[in-house]
């Protein structure tokens, strides 16, 4: 029952309707400096694609965003960051960079370009601003993977998404408790049935849009 990971990826890539990409300009001109991620320059517009590849690119986009955020957090911690907080944020940064780089490697030539990010709404010198943004990113990531699971057709990718989402949930719980004790699974994210949030890509991308300069289109993602 184990399908070949890369074969599956190749299949879904070749299935992709070429026309879906026509009219989409993947900018090759750099619009600004990115992180130290070696790869395509930040794009002005990307389309996530279709099928499982599209969902993996959707995950890759979110991981790019998280990795860029924590890279900036760790580069210069907010005033008064405790040793414990620095350890947590450094660990999370490492995890998100690994998620990002792994997905990029797995997607290969199907990977979207580097996204240009905009964190001007975050005050990186301020604890509550940084942790508030971290909480938003982690909770959003959890809801995104939870909502995307049913959109995948390759069981290997579903397991892969499952391996990542529970780590995002561990992050979310830790960050939330730094902000407020016993909020690790607060009623704002876990409902009365004991269920975490699950959001559709459209909802997630709308929420993430404020942090992404690149125009990300997702019109060809599966919806069921």
């Amino acid at each position: 029952m184990e399908l070949n990971f890369l074969d599956g990826l190749a299949r879904s890539t070749s299935r992709r309707n070429f026309l879906q990409w026509s009219g989409i300009t993947i900018a090759v001109a750099a619009v600004g400096c990115s992180d130290n991620n070696t790869g395509p320059s930040p794009a002005t517009t990307v389309d996530l694609g279709s099928g499982d590849t599209g969902i993996l690119n959707y995950a890759y986009a979110l991981e790019q965003l998280e990795a860029a955020f924590y890279t900036q957090v760790v580069a210069s911690f907010y005033a008064g960051a405790s040793a414990g907080e620095q350890t947590i944020l450094t660990d999370i940064k490492s995890h998100e960079v690994i998620h990002r780089d792994f997905l990029k490697a797995a997607l290969g030539s199907a990977a979207i370009a580097d996204l240009a990010v905009d964190f001007t709404s975050i005050t990186f010198t301020d604890r509550s601003s940084v942790l508030g943004a971290a909480k938003a990113f982690e909770d959003l990531g959890v809801s995104a993977y939870n909502g995307a699971g049913k959109l995948l057709t390759n069981p290997d990718y579903l397991v892969l998404a499952g391996k990542i989402v529970s780590v995002e949930a561990r992050h979310a719980a830790a960050i939330r408790d730094l902000l407020q004790a016993n909020s690790f699974a607060g009623s704002d994210v876990v409902n009365a049935n004991g269920l975490d949030q699950a959001k559709a890509p459209s909802e997630v991308l709308t929420a993430a849009d404020v942090y992404i300069t690149t125009t990300v289109t997702a019109n060809n993602l599966p919806t069921t």
């Binding site: 184990e2 070949n4 490492s94 797995a106 499952g162 780590v167 049935n193």
Partner: protein, 265 residues
């Protein structure tokens, strides 16, 4: 009927999900499904689409997975209720365990309702021995033991749900619900681990618990080869951070081997 319990506690989130689900179904032209959803109570729509859309209820394979999950939730639910009743938990940690306990009780109710409305028979609650035959003496009088077992049960729960996800792919709603439970178990695990002075995530196959009996819960977590044929994720960080970045699934048999010592009958 058990499902009424679910209906009674239904909140706006669930309703919104069902509404969006209906929209998606209508858009994709699955009108039969959309009509079926429109004419049934929302909780039934969420949890038991197949029971209504497919004659004969949920496939046995899905019922089996739900009953497997229910058994684990029974274990967690009774564990936390026993701990709260026994007074083993210090006051400052009560809110954490009260939150977790409420979620586990909700999971029991949700799964029981889903199995019933899907045409299955919910598994009966086993009798539990939280000492595991004496391996963990005094789980409800010794707080460190209680905490360690809590961590072990939560980390097991995460791996157990993850391992069953592919068996639920035939039913989008149940798969999504299972994923929504899965990430809540991970939130619990992180909080309890941190309460114990551990990281919220699992490094290598380290349990952080001074008992070899829990090691099967952590074996395999050191994996850094993701995907088939595989990409070594340690190249993007370190072996430790790469193992932390991905949680690993357990098979049903592996989970049962972990849970069985706590089940008397």
């Amino acid at each position: 009927m058990k499902a009424k319990t679910i209906l009674g506690s239904l909140d706006a989130d669930l309703t919104a999900q069902v509404v969006s689900r209906r929209g998606a179904l209508a858009k994709s032209g699955k009108m039969a499904g959309a009509l079926a959803l429109a004419s049934m109570p929302v909780a039934f729509g969420l949890m038991a689409k197949s029971a209504f859309a497919q004659a004969g209820g949920l496939p046995q394979g899905i019922i089996d997975v739900l009953n497997f999950a229910l058994t684990l939730e029974y274990l967690e639910d009774e564990f936390y209720r026993s701990g709260l009743n026994a007074g083993v938990i210090p006051a400052d940690a009560l809110p954490i365990f009260q939150t977790i306990s409420a979620h586990e009780a909700a999971h029991v109710a949700l799964l029981t309702g889903a199995i019933s409305s899907g045409g299955g028979t919910p598994a009966t609650k086993p009798n539990f021995d939280f000492t595991a035959g004496g391996t963990f003496p005094n789980p409800f009088t010794d707080y460190p033991t209680f905490q360690a077992l809590s961590q072990g049960f939560e980390d097991t729960g995460v791996r157990a749900y993850k391992g069953q996800a592919t068996a639920l792919m035939a039913n989008d709603d149940i798969l999504t619900t299972a994923l929504q439970i899965h990430s809540v178990e991970a939130r619990h695990a992180s909080a309890v681990r941190r309460l114990r002075g551990q990281k919220g995530w699992i490094t290598g196959n380290q349990s952080g618990i001074a008992s070899a009996a829990v090691q099967p819960i952590y074996n395999g977590e050191e994996n850094t080869t993701q995907g088939v044929p595989g990409i070594d994720t340690a190249q993007f960080g370190t072996a430790d951070s790469a193992s932390e970045a991905f949680d690993e699934p357990l098979t049903k048999d592996q989970v049962l081997a972990i849970a069985t010592p706590f089940i008397v009958a």
